[in-house]
């Protein structure tokens, strides 16, 4: 059954020395006989492995585990294919690519699916499973970071007591495992945010935007809901899981593909924070209602902020036209401004206001303001009296970082707010 009449020739590198032998090749039973001058080697056909072809079309074979290489010149390949049809099937390499590519695509889709659906779904139950004292410690750490990058406003005892009183009323009606610890910081943008463990940070710019203590109560209630429902913890868990899995997927790479994946991840995390905002709004209204605070104030405030954001955007856009007007410092910040507009402010604040307005309509309220006039006056004056210095050692660094992260257009917003407010 052996010995094909036509002679198949090739070259053989034996894997032990650098010598290269001219050989003839034949199939003898279940073996491939390789014969050269002073050389006879048998390879078992079932252990043969086809390596990638050379660019000139030469076929390269080896036996599994061997360093030796048998190369068959392109003109001889056809006659060897008749003897070893399965091994030399020309479609095999292409099928291998398809199978590998398909498997990897499926794996990547699985990981992406987990990142986009599994992880967000898991993050809330997981956040609730985190022991309260662990979250508390994390909160202290986050608070420390915030303290580095912001100046604490000199808050009078009256003002802090007013804040704490409101926070206490909200805590009584929430089922938050953490006390709410609000404070006011000096910053160039209107914002309020919750940290893990009960810290609520409000910027003086935001207080300036407020027309009544009821609105402050609304904002506090919203942040309180984030804390009570451990949204911040969930977001941190999500980001952590995201970070780990994303690194697993893309490695430390900075290639084009890696950057695409990172951008996708960023957009994804923004999408989820919007869901949490809506949930916090709903709970906030519930707290306001139960604590007999003005449930309409939240909608009032959103509507006003919508106008502020629109002004900011208009200023930003106007700034891009002129040469000497203030423009966003670089493409990254500009992209951030765009994301801000698309994902947070423009459509969203209006929708949130409308939703809050509709929900508040069904809620009754005694008409009692959230704070006494004197208390509100004390709060309104916070930061105007003075700013207590953060550590001077980190001050320069802080300023630099603050400049780097300051969103586009806040400069105008600041000026606008100053002009309008005083």
């Amino acid at each position: 059954m052996s010995s094909d009449p036509s002679v198949i020739t090739g070259t053989f590198a034996d894997g032990d020395t650098a010598a290269i032998h001219a050989v003839t090749i034949a199939v003898e039973g279940r073996r491939l006989a390789i014969t050269g001058e002073a050389l006879r080697v048998y390879w078992r056909i079932r252990r043969l492995k086809r390596l990638p072809d050379r660019p000139d079309g030469a076929v390269v074979l080896t036996e599994r585990g061997s360093d030796a290489r048998l190369s068959i010149e392109p003109d001889s390949v056809a006659s060897l294919r008749a003897l070893l049809p399965k091994l030399l099937d020309p479609g095999q390499a292409r099928r291998g690519t398809w199978i590998l590519g398909g498997t990897l695509t499926a794996t990547a889709a699985g990981i992406a699916g987990f990142l986009f659906f599994g992880l967000p779904a898991l993050s809330h139950p997981l956040a609730h499973a985190i022991p309260v004292d662990v979250e508390y410690r994390l909160g202290e750490r986050s608070n420390q970071f915030v303290a580095w990058f912001t100046d604490e406003c000199e808050t009078t005892d009256t003002a802090q007591a007013a804040l704490d009183e409101l926070a206490g009323r909200l805590h009584a009606v929430s089922d938050s495992p953490f006390e709410f610890r609000p404070r006011i910081v000096d910053a160039h943008f209107p914002n309020a945010f919750a940290l893990p463990g009960g810290h609520i940070v409000i910027t003086d710019e935001l207080i300036d935007e407020m027309k009544s203590p009821d609105e402050l109560a609304g904002v506090l209630a919203h942040e309180a809901a984030h804390i009570a429902h451990r949204h911040v913890m969930a977001a941190q868990l999500r980001e952590m899981g995201f970070g780990v899995l994303l690194e697993f997927l893309i490695g430390g790479g900075s290639g084009a593909g890696q950057e695409l994946a990172r951008t996708g991840a960023t957009l994804e995390s923004l999408r989820h924070s919007r869901g949490a905002e809506a949930e916090a709004d709903a709970y906030a209204l519930q707290y306001l209602h139960t604590a007999d605070l003005n449930p309409h104030a939240l909608a009032d405030f959103f509507e006003r902020m919508q106008v502020v954001f629109e002004d900011m955007e208009a200023d930003t856009e106007a700034g891009n036209d002129g040469d000497d007007a203030t423009a966003p410092p670089d493409s990254g910040t500009r992209a951030e401004a765009w994301l801000r507009a698309v994902l947070r402010t423009h459509p969203d604040t209006a929708r949130r206001a409308a939703r809050a307005r509709a929900a508040a309509a069904a809620l009754d309220w005694s008409g009692e303001p959230a704070l006494e006039d004197t208390q509100w006056a004390a709060l309104d004056a916070v930061c105007e009296a003075g700013v207590s210095r953060s550590d001077t050692a980190v001050e320069q660094m802080r300023d630099r970082i603050q400049d780097a992260v300051r969103p586009a257009g806040t400069e105008e917003a600041e000026n606008g707010a100053d002009a309008a407010g005083h």
Binding site: G15, D16, Y42, S66, R69, A112, R137, F248, D323, D324
Partner: protein
Amino acid sequence: MTDETGEAGTSAVPEDAGTPPQPLPDTAGARRGESLVFASSATWGGIAPITLLNALLNIVTLTLWRFWGRTRVRRYLWSTTTINGIPLEYTGTGWELFRSFIFVMIAIFLPVYALFFAGQLLLPPEHFMLVFGVAYIPFLLFFYWLLGIAMWVARRYRLSRTTWRSIRLGQAGSANGYAWATIGYALLSIITLGWYSPAAEMRLTRRLWRETFYGDRQFTILQEDEGLAGPLYPAFALAWFSGVIGYIAFVVVYMALIWPDLASGEVPATPTLMMIVKMYAALFVFFAVVGLFSLPYAAALLRRKAEILGLDDLDFRLRAGFLSLGWVYVVNLLIIVFTLGFGLPIAQMRLWRYVFNRLEANGEIDIETIRQNADRGPKSGEGLADAFDIGNVI
């Protein structure tokens, strides 16, 4: 089912292994030396389909394909590179790279991440900054040490997966020693304002190559300590001073560009768009000047690395000139920029081709007496390098 204990003859057994080669028409001398001629036949046409397929698959697999893609690029470059007409072979697989990456992620990345997180939770807030500050230097040192390890280990992997005439290359020596050497040399370079870096570069090259093997033959360094980097210094001085002059030029150009803004007395708190554009323009001038004057050093480095190398009676020469190398670099930069990075294999091919078409060997070597390298190299490779984003080299 595998029938492992089949008939004998499953491995290569030359019939009369003990006797010398047949007396062919050849000089009767004991050694049959030949010189080496290097050539690369890699082309755009050959690398472009690989590049395109890699780009597509990297996108749909969210970059998981990169291990296999890199392997294909190497396989092409190696197989189109011939020495005396016989091609190199790259024997590595994507699976080996992938496995190594996963291992590194689990064994190194995860513990470091866990350590950070545990530190955040367990350290009392008031001491956190202190601990963070104290731990920073050792951590940085560890990071750079790991980087050195990654480079060494990746090189060992690539060499062990490179064969010519079925004989492997290999790297011996110590990864740890190399890693500490990179740290020490980096510090010396900083202290000397960069003037040590040519010596550092050559010493690291020497450290790697004198522990490099082809089969059972070890590469030698023809130039020991004295004057190892000496010939590099004129070109380095040019690059160094161009850096200083380029910086001054940068400041001058930048000031000239923004002078109208300054003269008008209206300096906005945040820079305007035009100021940014002007700064980038000045920065471009800076890099163009420094890049141009650094080319002679880059070419000299390539030449010097080749000429200190020896293997048996061979020594090497690389005909690298700064204009030709500059052309390769400039076009490569354009390729990478205009393909958003996906064209990297084409750029790699052009540099690879440049080196192997200009590499020459003098002297002779008796190739047929070279025996296989007993060291098979690591079972998997480059995971650490990939984690540090230095894996995608050829």
